[in-house]
């Protein structure tokens, strides 16, 4: 479309991005924190280690596991499904890795850490595949299938650890969550790398188009020769794997798996992040960058709640208010008020690409 004022055009383009308000919300929350403590945003380089430290770094660190589950959730939601089991898969992955490290003879070696990661991811992928099979082969509703794994998963974690909160020590494993590379936390860098890899995989191959096609119209997609079953299993396995990574991130930071707290209700955070990012729960078009923005917003929100000293009983309400406001801003009608001059359907949505 031709725009008379190019600068305004670019601005409008940004505003129409589905995750625009997510970014605004992050900035607003940060601003609130700055009002409370003007030095909130300051970053300093620790003289001892050369690492950057500060509240922002803490937020990024906390965002990493949410990013993982949100990106997985984003793919599943795009197929028209939902994955409620991600929080439970996180705790299973955490439990498996902790038990593995605890029972290894040579539990402090790099090899042991790699083994723990590999085993945790394997189990997570298997749980994801069970979800996928229940949905695509058995034909259960995604909500029910993943609800089953959500309940069973936490039980499985308790069985693995005999109901105990298992701890272990392994410096390499700990490094995943607490280490630094070029002054930045490894956990965030890893999360970004994984997001970019997933983004490239779905957008540079035809995976993204096909997932959108089955999410929009499963019948027509099937008749067009798309293998719906295989794609569904792929999406749920991807979601399971990413939840496994999130579980490793979450347990590695404290080197303990808390069978009742690790990953608890993280599926809700993931769903919120996906919705904030502009992916419709009805399936179809998805937006990975948006989901990442959503995940960072949720991490910011969590940290802000703590920083402002909101009592823990009021935390869910505070979170709910922020999210309701955000969803209002994203709703078609409210957005229509913002760009009333533009007629509906005039602009072709830009293909989202990842910052590669």
């Amino acid at each position: 479309m031709t725009e008379k004022k190019p600068t305004l055009g670019i601005l409008m383009d940004v505003i129409r991005r589905p995750y625009f308000w997510g970014i605004i919300a992050i900035l607003l929350l940060l601003a609130v924190n700055v009002v409370k403590d003007p030095s909130y945003l300051s970053l300093s380089v620790s003289p001892a280690t050369g690492n950057v430290v500060g509240n922002l770094i803490d937020i990024l660190r906390a965002a990493a596991p949410i990013m993982m589950v949100a990106v997985g959730m984003c793919l599943v939601v795009a197929t028209g499904g939902i994955d409620l089991s991600v929080g439970s898969i996180m705790v299973v992955a955490g439990a498996v890795s902790m038990e593995f490290l605890k029972n290894m003879d040579d539990s402090t070696s790099v090899g042991a850490a790699l083994g723990a990661v590999g085993l945790a991811l394997l189990i997570a992928a298997i749980l994801g595949a069970v979800n996928g099979l229940l949905v695509s082969v058995v034909g259960l509703q995604p909500f029910i299938s993943t609800l089953v794994i959500m309940l069973a998963g936490r039980g499985l974690a308790k069985v693995i650890t005999s109901g105990q909160n298992t701890s272990a020590s392994n410096d390499s494993f700990r490094w995943i969550a607490n280490g630094y590379v070029v002054g930045l936390p490894v956990v965030f860098l890893l999360a970004v790398l994984i997001v970019i890899a997933v983004g490239l995989l779905v957008r540079r191959s035809a995976l993204g188009l096909m997932i959108e096609a089955i999410g929009m119209d499963p019948k027509a997609a099937r008749l067009a020769g798309i293998n719906r079953r295989g794609l569904l299993i792929t999406a749920y396995v991807a979601s399971g794997l990413l939840a496994g990574v999130a579980g490793i991130f979450a347990t590695a930071s404290v080197m303990t798996v808390d069978v009742s707290r690790t990953g608890y209700q993280l599926e809700l955070d993931a769903i919120l992040a996906v919705v904030i990012g502009g992916t419709s729960l009805a399936g179809g078009k998805f937006n990975i960058v948006g989901s990442v923005v959503g995940a960072i917003l949720i991490a910011t929100l969590d940290k802000t709640v703590v920083f402002l000293g909101v009592s823990s009983s009021a935390t869910p309400a505070f979170k709910a208010i922020v999210i309701v406001v955000l969803c209002l801003l994203q709703s078609q009608r409210v957005r229509a008020l913002f760009n009333q001059r533009r007629s509906i359907g005039s602009s072709t949505p830009k293909k989202e690409t990842l910052p590669a």
Partner: protein
């Protein structure tokens, strides 16, 4: 039809009509969408007690005009008068308040509610304790009786009715809402001949009660059978308003497409004498292929360069057979040979891999993916065939897109537009392009010309003939027997999920002959065997 006396009365009534005040008058209506002027100074008027057909090709602006009248689109210029008074229609609710109701091609009712609940929805009769259901159902029966549907049980679930009956229920719902104007947007496109006649009976009844009916259909026979007056649109512009009895078919068609129809007629003679010699191995051969409840076991062979028509009434098993061939449904009996070797087609993906393509009759639900662009819709099947790991490059996509947009004359030729914004005929062309891009050896087209305009129809028919000329085996399914006869080399006649005859096309084969075959077959089962035998012999000898 009606007697002479009645006709004279009716004609007098029609000429008187223009003296009275139209219930709807649209003056100089213009509507623009970004980049397109969808309607440009269109006039339209509708009188009480007439059936007025809106004619035009796809994309001529019929739907846009209807949507302006039902308040879905805002008009940029012009005015709408309802019963002589200017009125702004800001939405469907306001249109309904003004007495305008619409029954769409795809019925907008709640199929899981009862018939009565659907008819009375929003007009339930209330008593002191909430809704008085027995009174409500009684009122529903009364409303249905007015349309001659008194035999329906209002407590029955709507989904148990045929689509045709559901449409009639939708009409009676509109009458309960006291509509003075009834818009029927392609109500007949998925009905068979009897059902259409049933609809027309109801329409005539309503017309005689003084309801103004705006009718849209692509079937000329139906337009001539039911309408009193026509308004023709072309490319968003107004061509003219005519009394149906004053305008001949040929001139009506040329007004719609804006050019001579000689080109259309030349197609007629193209397929008359068939002298196919089937010496080579058939491309596709099935012995005893069938599926419980949808297709009785039957034998089929399809050759390269041949158009095989599947004729039969709706529900005769023609679509079901096509779905078995492409693997949408799995056959539970029979054997399939493809290019001489035995094979299985167990899913659309495997059908596609074996160079079979199938375009569903259900364009909206099983064809296009509404929210994807024209480009994405076009390349989808090719991409599915290659698998997700081998994406088409930008260049390959552009080649497919530019080739088929031009070849099939898709308008507008903008690949980035969401396909839902295209007219039905152009969506169908994109779908045809999707399948052609997979370079199929066997192409199954189920109702490819349904609900699309004369021009697009001719273009698709030309494509079918051209494809056969290139050596593709085409299976052509259509409710319009004339079309099947015109295009097919061989016609397989189906009835009640069985193959009852196979006819090699030739000068003696007409739509009537096929109708007779279907009709006769029903008389007695004893004769049926003889008939099938004779037909098979005929097929073998020629």
């Amino acid at each position: 039809m009606t007697g002479d006396a009645k006709r004279i009365v009716r004609q007098r009534r029609l000429s008187d009509m223009t003296q009275s005040i139209p219930i709807v008058e649209m003056k100089n209506i213009s509507i623009s969408f970004p980049g397109v002027k969808a309607l440009d100074g269109v006039d339209f008027r509708l009188f009480p007690g007439e059936v007025h057909t809106l004619m035009g090709e796809n994309g001529a602006g019929k739907s846009t005009l209807i949507k302006a009248l039902t308040g879905v689109y805002k008009i940029d210029e012009g005015e709408i008068l309802i019963a002589g008074a200017p009125r702004k229609l800001g939405g469907t609710a306001e249109a309904q308040a003004a007495g305008i109701s619409t029954v769409y091609q795809e019925v907008n009712l709640c199929s899981n509610l009862s018939i009565g609940e659907n008819v009375m929805l929003g007009h339930e009769i209330r008593g002191p304790f909430g809704i008085n259901w027995s009174a409500t159902f009684a009122a529903a029966t009364e409303a249905l009786e007015k349309l001659g549907l008194g035999h329906l049980d209002p407590r029955q679930t709507l989904s148990t009715l045929s689509l045709a009956m559901q449409q009639l229920v939708a009409i009676s719902r509109a009458m309960v809402a006291k509509s003075k104007v009834l818009i029927l947007d392609e109500p007949t496109s998925s009905l068979d001949a009897n059902e259409v006649e049933g609809l027309f009976v109801v329409m005539r009844r309503l017309r005689d009660q003084g309801v103004a009916i705006l009718f849209v259909s692509h079937f000329l026979d139906q337009v001539y059978a039911i309408s009193d007056r026509l308004t023709v649109l072309r490319n968003g512009g107004y061509v003219g308003e005519y009394l149906t009895r004053d305008i001949e078919r040929a001139s009506l068609i040329s007004k719609m497409i804006g050019k001579d129809i000689a080109a259309l007629k030349s197609l007629d003679s193209e397929r008359e004498a068939q002298d196919h010699v089937y010496t080579e191995e058939p491309l596709y051969k099935a012995v005893g292929i069938g599926r419980k409840g949808s297709v009785e076991p039957m034998d089929i062979s399809l050759h390269r360069g041949e158009v095989v028509g599947l004729a039969g009434l709706l529900g005769s098993g023609r679509t079901e057979l096509a779905r078995l061939i492409y693997g949408v449904d799995k056959p539970d009996s029979g054997e399939i040979w493809l290019r001489g070797s035995k094979t299985d087609v167990s899913s659309p993906a495997s059908g596609l891999a074996k160079k079979i393509a199938f375009s569903s009759e259900n364009r909206r639900d099983e064809g296009i993916i509404r929210d994807l662009s024209v480009r994405e819709n076009l390349v989808l099947a090719v991409q599915a065939k290659r698998g997700w790991a081998r994406p088409l490059s930008r260049k390959e996509k552009d080649e497919i897109v530019s080739k088929y947009l031009v070849e099939l004359n898709v308008r507008p030729a903008d690949p980035d537009r969401p396909i839902k914004n295209l007219s039905g005929g152009n969506q169908q062309k994109v779908l045809l392009g999707r399948w052609l891009a997979t370079k199929p050896d066997l192409l199954i087209l189920d109702e490819p010309t349904r609900g699309i305009d004369v021009g697009a129809k001719a273009e698709i028919q030309e494509q079918v003939v051209a494809l056969a000329g290139e050596g593709v085996s085409v299976v052509f399914i259509s409710s319009e027997l004339e079309e099947v006869v015109r295009l097919s080399d061989r016609i397989i006649v189906l009835k009640d999920h069985r193959k009852i005859a196979e006819i090699v096309n030739g000068p003696g084969v007409t739509a009537e002959a096929i109708v007779n075959t279907i009709a006769e077959e029903g008389i007695s089962d004893a004769h049926a065997d003889v008939h099938v035998g004779a037909a098979a012999e005929e097929a073998a000898t020629s």
